[in-house]
């Protein structure tokens, strides 16, 4: 792998130099005297926790924010980049985490959008140009395909093509793998290497350390708005990078509590529903964490939603500690002892515009301590409870009266976790529980999930991150196209689990 790395062209003069950049927002210094050099022919990883200032720095380079102090040199000359349009004219392009494509348009139409040339469109030439570009860099995407028919990975390629079409020399990718399956990420890396070898400078923003070590030529680590170090994959290790990011050593493997696994808590048989669930069967026992591994979109979301009662299943049974809870409404399933950490905490976990204490009582507002029979809320008791939870889970907030939207992702997730675990559930359904969190917060969430075992609870962990599955699970199953395709010991090699994630084990079983 390392032999594939770019030369970095040490001798070549840097393409972009950002000097002493400081960016202040009200109350926050997002970048504090940051300097950065980008050389042609390198993949430069920019890593750091959420809020460390990575995206801000790159948005300054892309002309989305003006810097408060500092200057930007382009091939030795100072430039003022006042808007993304100017940035593109200077050959600087950025691909955001959230794509901005017009769904009913074709690839070519999207690529030329905003750079159509003359009044009368010459689609033939544009088409050819896009096809040539794709060919040159090995992008597998048809120029005539319509965006809405494409996968996420393909859409990302179109975004990159958009930048290349405008002739960029510097390509900024903001957390490009956050939306990709492992396979798609691999394809992306192949594409990026081609671009690098062609002499482009690529900025790769991420907090996934394995990927950074795999693709980067140089790594700059940001913490709290300042550069804490620059290194290369050869010199660095995952542990070292994590320590630089967080400022203290981080454990990637937490010790699993040594408890004896008990009676079945959750028993699912033949769960069918809406084409996404094709006969799921699984079992979670007390003091056990069952990891459900799989490439996203194989029915994980539907499974979690069916178990908590958000989705009606067409057939099959769900039993909780022996009681058949199939088809029960959400409130009853929750009262029976199921807690739920949704994969999208903004959509299904929190009400961002409401306060922390109001969020802390969500789903429990009709429980006796929090409201009376007549329908009055006991605000003081709710606030007491919220204060206790915020303290217990170290949710960092000014007070419980601020809106949930003012919290960082990690603190938001802590709040969800605190609320869900405070109900003393029998079963915890944790769906992608550390999505979008930084290393420090991940460690906290993992510890909490592991601690559930000591409480005698069962945990169904659904995750697309194999790391997470390994770190927490006592038993692993793979899910593929809405079926469980295999069961594995917690120390099974990744290749073996990978087979199940692609459904092969299931075919073997069937034949």
């Amino acid at each position: 792998m390392s032999d594939e790395r770019g030369a970095g062209r040490e001798s070549a003069p840097p393409l972009v130099v950002m000097e002493h950049i400081t960016k202040r927002f009200p109350g926050v210094v997002a970048n504090d005297d940051v300097s950065l050099e980008l050389r042609p022919g390198e993949v430069h990883a920019l890593i750091g926790e959420n809020g460390a200032g990575k995206s801000t720095l790159m948005r300054i380079l892309y002309g989305m924010y003006p810097a408060s102090e500092g200057r930007i040199l382009l091939e030795g000359e100072e430039v003022s980049i006042s808007s993304p349009r100017v940035a593109l004219q200077h050959g600087i392009g950025m691909v955001h985490q959230h794509f901005v494509l017009v769904d009913p348009f074709t690839v070519t139409e999207n690529v030329i959008l905003g750079d159509e040339g003359s009044v009368i469109l010459d689609m033939e030439t544009a088409h050819q140009k896009v096809a040539d570009l794709a060919q040159t860099y090995g992008f597998q995407v048809r120029p005539s395909a319509v965006i809405e028919d494409l996968s996420v990975g393909e859409e990302q390629r179109v975004e990159i093509l958009k930048a290349l079409y405008r002739g960029v020399e510097v390509l900024i990718l903001d957390e490009p793998t956050a939306v990709l399956t492992p396979l798609e990420a691999k394809d992306l890396f192949t594409n990026l290497r081609r671009l690098r070898d062609d002499g482009k400078a690529i900025v790769f923003i991420s907090h996934k350390l394995d990927e950074v070590l795999a693709i980067a030529d140089r790594i700059t680590v940001l913490r709290r708005g300042t550069v804490v170090g620059e290194t290369t994959p050869a010199e660095a290790s995952k542990a070292k990078l994590a320590e630089m990011m967080v400022g203290r050593p981080v454990l990637f493997r937490l010790e699993k509590p040594d408890v004896e696994i008990g009676e079945p808590i959750l028993e699912v048989e033949g769960l069918l529903g809406e084409g996404k669930l094709n006969g799921i069967g699984l079992q979670v026992r007390a003091r056990e964490i069952l990891g459900v591994a799989g490439v996203e979109g194989n029915g994980q979301k539907e499974l979690a939603e069916a178990l908590i009662g958000l989705r009606k299943s067409a057939a099959g049974t769900i039993r909780l500690a022996g009681t058949d809870i199939t088809g029960w409404p959400v409130a009853d399933i929750r009262n029976a002892g199921v807690a739920f950490i949704p994969e999208d905490r903004h959509e299904q976990g929190l009400v961002l515009s409401m306060t922390l204490w109001e969020n802390a009582v969500l789903g429990r507002e009709d429980d006796p301590p929090f409201s009376g029979r007549t329908g009055f809320l006991f605000i003081e008791r709710i606030k007491e409870m919220a204060k206790r939870l915020v303290k217990l889970f170290d949710v960092r907030a000014r007070s419980i009266n601020v809106a949930a939207s003012t919290l960082s992702g990690g603190n938001q997730q802590k709040l969800v976790l605190a609320r869900e675990l405070d109900t003393s559930p029998k079963l915890l359904i944790a769906s992608q529980p550390t999505r979008g969190l930084d290393v420090g917060a991940i460690e906290f969430v993992w510890r909490q999930i592991l601690d559930q075992k000591k409480e005698g609870r069962g945990v169904l962990l659904i995750s697309a991150e194999l790391d997470e599955i390994y770190a927490l699970s006592d038993r692993i199953v793979t899910i593929y196209e809405g079926r469980i395709t295999g069961e594995y010991a917690p120390d099974a090699p990744p290749e073996e689990i990978g087979v199940g994630m692609l459904g092969a084990a299931d075919t073997a079983e069937a034949s």
Partner: protein
């Protein structure tokens, strides 16, 4: 970090609710100032002096105690209407049907007034008001149930039901509720029989020395109580809490186990009951009968007033009074100036428009202050950074 903090003013230590109330008040004042400013421009274009026009409007509204009473009696139905709109809106429902619910409420109340005339004293009035609410509730329940069971959008169904409501009033006046005792030989407008005095809401104005033309009745304090109840519902009661969750994030409500359909139907019922009260001022406070040329459109005005009051029950009371002052100004314009009476409508429109703009600005400022605090006090970049707030794409 230290360089940044030094340039920042120390965050003030006002309690958040007070700060937000002060900000809302200031925002409303600013919006009003803009509206007055733009209005001045239009007045000048008409060749009139803005100062004389405004002072004519104001002095007409406040020229004596009777005039003030008139303003409050104009505000009374608007408070009920805006509350009705806001109750649904808090739960994410757009009840355009307040108009129809108010019309049906007038019909059921009139029926009750004529039917229960044997009830003694206050009981008669209570029965009439009860039926006003009941009529509004039944009429609001229809779109509510349709929404929950079939997913029919409430905007579409309520608009259609508004049309039906107009016909219901016409039918009632031509049929079952048509007067039986018209004075012989006189041409009388179509109306119901005159209600017994026991069905009418007693006058309040005379206690303060207002003339009878003010028509200020006990409905005004009832409207104030209603807004207090609505405030209490949303701040202190489970239903109000759940409604706000449903209105802000349906997904989180569902995942939390809140029965969204049940909450929505309850909101429609409460909204309908409030809407039923809108017509009582004219039927029971002024005319003593349901007449053919009743004052319509109050339900729609309620949408504007609710907006002006930012769906806040207290804000709505002030917004309704403000609206009433402007409406009363119409008469002043006709008496003292050459401006067309429609100028008031223009002024009300500009007011709404500037409220949109000013509230948005105020909201952003508040959010910024919140971030500033979060950053300064926790001392962490770990709290939300502006990059989370900033638009994703330029």
């Amino acid at each position: 970090m230290s360089t940044g903090d030094a340039t920042l003013p120390a965050p003030r230590a006002l309690p958040p609710w007070l700060e937000s109330a002060v900000a809302q008040g200031l925002a409303l004042l600013a919006a009003f100032a803009i509206a007055v400013g733009v209005g001045s421009l239009i007045i000048t274009l008409y060749g009139e002096n803005p100062l004389t026009v405004y002072s004519a409007m104001l002095s007409f509204a406040f020229k004596d105690i009777t005039s003030i009473g008139t303003v409050l009696s104009i505000a009374t139905p608007l408070i009920f209407a805006a509350l009705a709109v806001s109750v649904c809106f808090k739960g994410g429902l757009f009840n355009i049907g307040v108009e129809g619910q108010f019309l049906v409420g007038m019909v059921t109340a009139s029926w009750a007034a004529l039917t229960f005339d044997f009830l003694p004293g206050l009981l008669h009035l209570v029965a009439v008001l009860l039926f006003a609410c009941l009529g509004g509730m039944v009429y609001a329940a229809v779109p509510g149930v349709l929404k929950v069971t079939t997913g029919a959008h409430e905007v579409v169904t309520t608009i259609m039901m508004n049309g039906i409501a107009v016909s219901i009033v016409a039918y009632a006046l031509n049929g079952p509720l048509k007067f039986t005792e018209a004075p012989p030989g006189q041409n009388v407008d179509l109306r119901t029989d005159i209600f017994e005095p026991s069905a009418l809401v007693p006058d309040l104005g005379h206690l303060f020395g207002m003339g009878g033309s003010a028509h200020l009745s006990w409905l005004f304090p009832i409207a104030i109580v209603a807004s207090a109840i609505v405030w209490f519902l949303f701040r202190r009661m489970r239903l109000g809490y759940e409604a706000r969750v449903v209105g802000s994030s349906a997904g989180s409500a569902r995942a939390g186990g809140i029965a969204i359909g049940g909450v929505q139907i309850k909101l429609f019922l409460i909204s309908g009951a409030l809407a039923g009260m809108i017509g009582m001022q004219q039927v029971l406070g002024e005319r003593g009968a349901l007449v053919q040329n009743y004052e319509a459109q109050l339900g729609f005005t309620g949408i504007a007033v609710a907006f002006l009051g930012q769906n806040n029950p207290i804000g709505i009371v002030f917004a309704a009074v403000l609206w009433a002052i402007l409406s009363r100004g119409e008469t002043a314009l006709q008496l003292g100036t050459n401006l067309p009476r429609e100028f008031v409508i223009i002024l009300q429109g500009i007011l709404i428009f500037s409220v949109v703009v000013v509230y948005q600005i105020a909201k952003r400022r508040l959010a910024r202050r919140e971030l500033q605090r979060a950053g300064a006090e926790v001392g962490l970049r770990d709290t939300a950074t502006p990059e989370d707030e900033a638009p994703r794409e330029a």
